[in-house]
Symmetry: C2
Subunit: 143 residues, 2 copies
């Protein structure tokens, strides 16, 4: 479990000035590593912070991304998800339950493509979709 102090330190490390809203959002991201959407963050915090605005969630996520504290995860067409683990890694999304798991990868920093030449890689994004064990077992009712 992470304390409020942990959250404060984490934000300090990324040069993010704390505020009640920012703390609540960062705290949520640290405690619930489920790669939530802006809407899910808002939905989770609204009950305990009814004055929270969805715009603030978007503003805050943009700030967090600019400061390098979170990364955008573009795994489904519908909406952007946010990942507090900013190290290069892959994702697995279960098509049954929607869970998104982190997967380690070995990454590279350049590719030479025939006919095109060298490509300098600054971002690596890898994701899989499929079924986790539990959903694969009940698969009959899914597909």
């Amino acid at each position: 479990m992470n304390t409020i102090q942990d959250t404060r330190e984490y934000m300090q490390r990324y040069d993010i000035k704390p505020s009640v809203q920012r703390m609540a959002i960062m705290d949520y991201l640290m405690a619930n590593r489920v790669h939530p959407t802006a809407d899910e963050i808002y939905g989770a915090l609204y009950p305990v912070m009814p004055t929270l605005s969805k715009t603030t969630v978007y503003n805050t996520m943009r700030l967090f991304m600019e400061q390098g504290a979170v990364k955008a995860l573009v795994i489904d067409e519908k909406n952007v998800r946010f990942d507090i683990d900013t190290s290069d890694h892959a994702h697995f999304m279960c098509l049954g339950c929607g869970c998104v798991y982190d997967i380690p990868i070995e990454n590279r920093d350049a590719i030479v493509l025939e006919g095109v030449g060298e490509l300098i890689i600054t971002e690596t994004h890898l994701y899989y979709k499929g079924y986790c064990k539990k959903c694969a077992e009940e698969k009959g009712k899914i597909i």
Copy 2:
């Protein structure tokens, strides 16, 4: 270069009934392997087919996807792109010029994740972002 006959045969292979619009769209996808958005497809075909509707482009892309003739490529948050190469492969998007190149990958069909168990992979999506050689050279004016 592909002929109209090639396009017709390709559609037949995927059980897609031809129509003037579908032929034009498929033909465009086969001739321009640039992973276009729905809007780009519409923009390219509108001049030669002014009665074309954007809804038809979306409808057609959905049909093509359902029949397995194209795949959705979710590489940027803004809009979905379409890829006529349905084999598993990666993409590189140049942050300078926006070009998207195909990259070969070796793929897997399952992962065992500690604490979660086996994950059955049905889709692999890998993409990189960065700069192609040309853009890297002019990088000063980009970043």
